[in-house]
């Protein structure tokens, strides 16, 4: 039992924190300190993950059938909690006094969900985690602003979210139908009883790749769950909700919305793809993802091109970015498991999602930084392009931060975004070597990506331009919230750091990605003589307990 607790320490800490904050919310005078507590708990969780990561130093640990940790999970948790702290800091001023407790606990729960998706080794847990991520967000949107649009956004998000959840679940059920077991991977070797496999990966590895891939159940299940997860990513067929929801919610929440479900969706898709050991090259699933990726990029950019409301514009730009991330996933880990994000799609995706999280959050935080007199007395965060007009004149530093984040989103050199795009494009290019059959389609994808980046530049430019050129309209004021200012500064710095000193982040993303590749290691397991005592002990535990 102690192993499970050890593995789940960060999550447990966070849940306790969330509940604690909930109670804090009840009493008047304590509620103001809710933010401080939630930041504390998040930091604690980060520290726990760090300790776990050091202990595991890079190899696989299977605590119980449905849980596993490894470099990937550590990477995901670290990123999740870091962004979590930023979000919490930024949301200091959003909720009214009385709802503050619930607000922050929901945020914490959502981040717990996110880290659980990484750990999940079992379809059930995976689905639970996904739900845990999205359910709090429904409420958060409703709480974030008092005006009617927030309610409408929450409603829409809920209904469509539920719909998509049902879809994903339906897909999972089919996968279960095909494989016969819920657990994705297992360390065990001996099949439980004849015919039944320990995990889907084992089932997949058992048969030869071709007929496995063309097993009807698997394909339907795969596509359905892919569809459902695409909703989280806001990929094209399911991107409709994005604009309204992002516009409805308060800016910091939208920042979180832009990152948390997307990251969870991506991890889930990674799990699915690693089941089939990334062998999607010769199956039509490849084309499915290819179409989604291409369509998402193009339509996302085109729609964003049309907007004058900055939030809707950034919403559609997040759609476009999901397209880029999907493209990276399509490239897959690269046959030779290359050591650099330039060759390994998954590593590129992990690196880019981290940088994207910071950029997106930064952009939305700047929006919430500029206040304009809202309908009722309380001021509103800037939304339309005119609100930002001439902002640079009086708040040079804030508009500089906005410019940096926007340039990052655009993928301009000297920002992390450039490196991210560089890695994604080059990993797709190097993937052409692995999948000869799809050489032309991959190159076409890169060209589409390049053109989209250029189109993207057009509307991003409009934001910067309005900041720097238009005459200030006079009514723009800035919020006084300290937390927001710190979070904003951190985001901008992360974006610039992404370019100047990406070494560390790359190393982590590469190791995490490498772990993603070796998923189907049903064959490989930890023999008793593996070096450190601790993991051996946990392995016996896993074997023993079955």
């Amino acid at each position: 039992m102690s192993a499970i607790v050890e593995l789940l320490l960060p999550e447990i800490l966070l849940c306790v924190g969330a509940i604690g904050v909930l109670f804090l919310g009840l009493s008047k005078e304590f509620s103001s300190r809710a933010v401080v507590w939630s930041v504390l708990f998040l930091a604690g969780a980060m520290f726990a993950t760090y300790k776990l990561a050091i202990a595991a130093n890079g190899d696989e640990v299977f605590a119980v059938a449905s849980l596993h940790t490894g470099p990937l999970t550590h990477y995901v948790r670290m990123i999740a909690f870091a962004i979590g702290i930023l979000v919490v800091l930024a949301c200091k001023h959003v909720p009214e006094a009385e709802e503050r407790g619930e607000f922050f606990s929901l945020i914490l729960f959502s981040f717990v969900g996110l880290s659980l998706t990484a750990i999940a080794n079992d379809l059930v847990l995976l689905f639970l985690a996904l739900e845990l991520v999205s359910v709090p967000t429904y409420i958060l949107i409703g709480l974030s602003r008092r005006d009617i649009r927030a309610q409408e956004a929450a409603g829409k998000y809920f209904f469509l979210g539920a719909f998509a959840a049902a879809l994903t679940l339906y897909g999972f059920s089919f996968i279960y139908g095909a494989a016969g077991t819920m657990t994705i991977f297992s360390a065990g070797t001996v099949p439980f009883q004849q015919g039944a496999y320990h995990s889907i990966a084992e089932w997949f590895a058992a048969g030869n790749v071709y007929d496995r891939m063309h097993d009807p159940l698997l394909i339907v299940g795969f596509m359905l769950s892919l569809g459902g997860l695409a909703f989280k990513l806001a990929a094209v067929p399911l991107h409709y909700y994005v604009a309204d929801v992002y516009q409805g919610a308060a800016s910091p929440i939208t920042g979180m919305l832009g990152f948390v479900p997307k990251f969870a969706g991506l991890i889930a898709i990674m799990h699915l793809l690693s089941i089939v050991q990334w062998q999607i090259a010769d199956s039509s699933v490849y084309w499915g993802i290819w179409i989604i990726a291409a369509a998402t990029m193009t339509i996302g950019n085109s729609l964003a091109f049309m907007q004058y409301n900055v939030k809707r514009m950034l919403a559609y730009s997040s759609v476009a970015h999901s397209g880029y991330l999907l493209m990276a996933l399509l490239a897959g880990p690269g046959a030779s498991g290359a050591g650099s994000p330039l060759r390994n799609g998954v590593a590129a995706m992990l690196f880019y999602i981290a940088i994207y999280g910071a950029m997106n959050l930064g952009a939305f935080l700047v929006l919430s930084w500029f206040r304009k007199p809202g309908t009722d007395d309380s001021d509103e965060s800037a939304e339309m392009l005119e609100d930002l007009a001439g902002a640079a004149r009086r708040h040079p530093w804030a508009s500089l931060a906005l410019a940096v984040c926007i340039l990052g989103l655009m993928g301009f050199p000297l920002t992390g975004g450039f490196l991210g795009k560089l890695y994604i494009f080059s990993s797709v290019l190097s993937a052409t070597a692995d999948m000869q059959a799809h050489q032309t389609s991959l190159i076409v994808l890169v060209v589409i990506g390049a053109i989209n980046a250029a189109v993207g530049a057009a509307y991003y430019l409009r934001i910067i331009a309005s900041c720097y050129w238009r005459e200030p309209s006079g009514k723009v004021t800035t919020s006084t919230c300290m937390g927001l200012r710190v979070a904003l500064a951190v985001c901008a710095i992360v974006v610039v750091l992404g370019f100047a000193w990406p070494g560390q982040l790359i190393r982590h993303s590469v190791t995490a990605a490498k772990e993603g590749i070796d998923y189907p290691r049903v064959m490989r397991f930890h023999t008793a003589d593996s070096h450190s005592s601790h993991p051996a002990e946990s392995v016996d535990l896993a074997r023993g307990r079955r």
Binding site: L123, V124, F127, L128, E131, V135, Y138, I139, G142, I148, R149, Q151, E152, A153, A154, G155, K156, F158, F159, A162, F163, A165, A166, L169, Y170, F172, S173, F174, Y176, G177, G180, T181, M182, A196, A243, D244, Q247, G248, M306, Q307, R312
Partner: protein, 93 residues
């Protein structure tokens, strides 16, 4: 499996056709039931109980959804006075 698929389909159509929010919510619940049936069927196929275990979890989640969904529907009703989904069209484009 066929039955599960049928129920799921019914839920989807219900979601699309009806404008009343509560009915829409109900149809999502029906979709969940459809999935549940499918899961149990898959479990039978492989003869292990993991299908049903998953089914139980699904029930729990459906309940959570119900609680939350109704709360949101009530909120929207109180705000807008009608249950019609079409009325919520303020944001578009």
């Amino acid at each position: 499996m066929l039955v599960g698929a049928l129920i799921f389909g019914l839920g989807v159509i219900g979601f699309l056709a009806r404008r009343n929010m509560i009915v829409m919510f109900l149809s999502t619940e029906i979709m969940f039931q459809g999935v549940l049936v499918n899961l149990v069927a898959m479990g039978l196929l492989h003869g292990n109980i993991q299908g049903q275990a998953m089914g139980l979890f699904v029930l729990v989640i459906a309940a959570v959804e119900a609680g939350l969904g109704l709360a949101i529907v009530v909120m929207m009703y109180r705000r807008r006075g009608t249950l019609d989904a079409e009325s919520w069209r303020t944001m578009r484009g």
